[in-house]
Symmetry: C2
Subunit: 205 residues, 2 copies
């Protein structure tokens, strides 16, 4: 693709580096920006630059943050005795958007996966143990991916937490709401049969 | 969607303003940028900012350009006697990527469309007439959208060009290469029958 302006070409190439954005989409985005006012485009580019330079990770829960302690950890309305352990920042956002959880989080930064060379030391597991030791945590909820790596990570952390008086739970697995039985995979369907629940409990939710 | 960092939220909102980019995609792009080095992100944001501030339009053909005359108009290898008239910058890029055209361009900036309030005065038609008057142009090729507005624009410009000794052509319309006859629309198929061409001419191409 030949472009008459090297400034335009440069901007297109930079956009095309982003994941899932090809040259044609990049060109469409850049031509859209050309039509905007220079102030709007400056606000766009500054928001990105400022975000990358100033964003930090919360020293308590390792979530992304503007300050050393994030908005969630410093929020006095949040229940400090519950910690939800997740793999990454995106999971925090997914759970927050359900508006069903009012406790704190702990972002592991990944899950134990020896094949990818990720061991317990690369994750924030020690920091989680320290939180449990130092504050009055009564429940740890695991919200990790439902696969062998997720299960390994839960098992590893659970063993580490054995000395402490804390309830350990994991989010429920089962058939999705709106999901059709015949299209569910065997493992999910099998587990949902094993972990069947009393109807009264289900209805009360 | 609640995000723990207002810096992140700001960047996500700015990305989500772009056409075809929703909140989820914006978040994915921003989380990708966070993983890049600050220098890379700065290069990205500066390329966009610089492009918007410094890019100009070529005074000859109205294509996008770094200088007052664009790379195509100032290229001595380009055939100056042929001008291809297109609607917008994207069409120039599309034709350039075929590598089949070595003449110059003229970007109209739209097509005549009374319903959208676009008349001849809002387009660069006068500037095209001036180019034909002042330089030795022998052929004008119209590469406009195959619809009523495109045809109106061609008719209007053709009338304006009648006093000058210049050949006026339009790009061929017909069944696309790789297109199946049964899926072609009636208008295209009908026109391609009317404008049938000798097989020798077709094969020599």
């Amino acid at each position: 693709m030949q472009i008459a302006s090297s400034l335009l070409e440069n901007a297109v190439n930079e956009f095309a580096r982003l994941p899932g954005i090809g040259k044609k989409t990049a060109l469409r985005l850049v031509l859209h920006l050309i039509k905007q006012s220079p102030e709007d485009v400056q606000r766009f580019s500054q928001a990105i630059d400022k975000m990358r330079k100033e964003v930090v990770f919360c020293t308590v829960c390792h979530n992304i943050s503007d300050n050393t302690v994030c908005n969630i950890c410093s929020n006095p309305l949040r229940k400090k005795e519950t910690i939800c352990v997740v793999e990454n920042i995106r999971d925090v956002i997914a759970i927050e958007s359900t508006q069903q959880y009012s406790g704190l989080y702990h972002v592991l930064g990944g899950i134990i996966s020896p094949l990818d060379g990720i061991g317990p030391d690369q994750l924030t597991i020690e920091s989680l143990i320290t939180r449990v030791q130092q504050s009055a945590v009564s429940e740890i909820i695991f919200a990790l991916s439902p696969n062998i790596q997720g299960d390994t990570t839960i098992y590893y952390i659970q063993k580490k937490l054995q000395p402490y008086p804390v309830t350990i739970t994991t989010i429920a697995r089962g058939i999705s709401f709106g999901g059709e039985l015949e299209y569910a995979d065997e493992l999910t369907l099998g587990r949902s049969l094993q972990n069947r629940m009393p109807v009264e409990k289900y209805v009360s939710h």
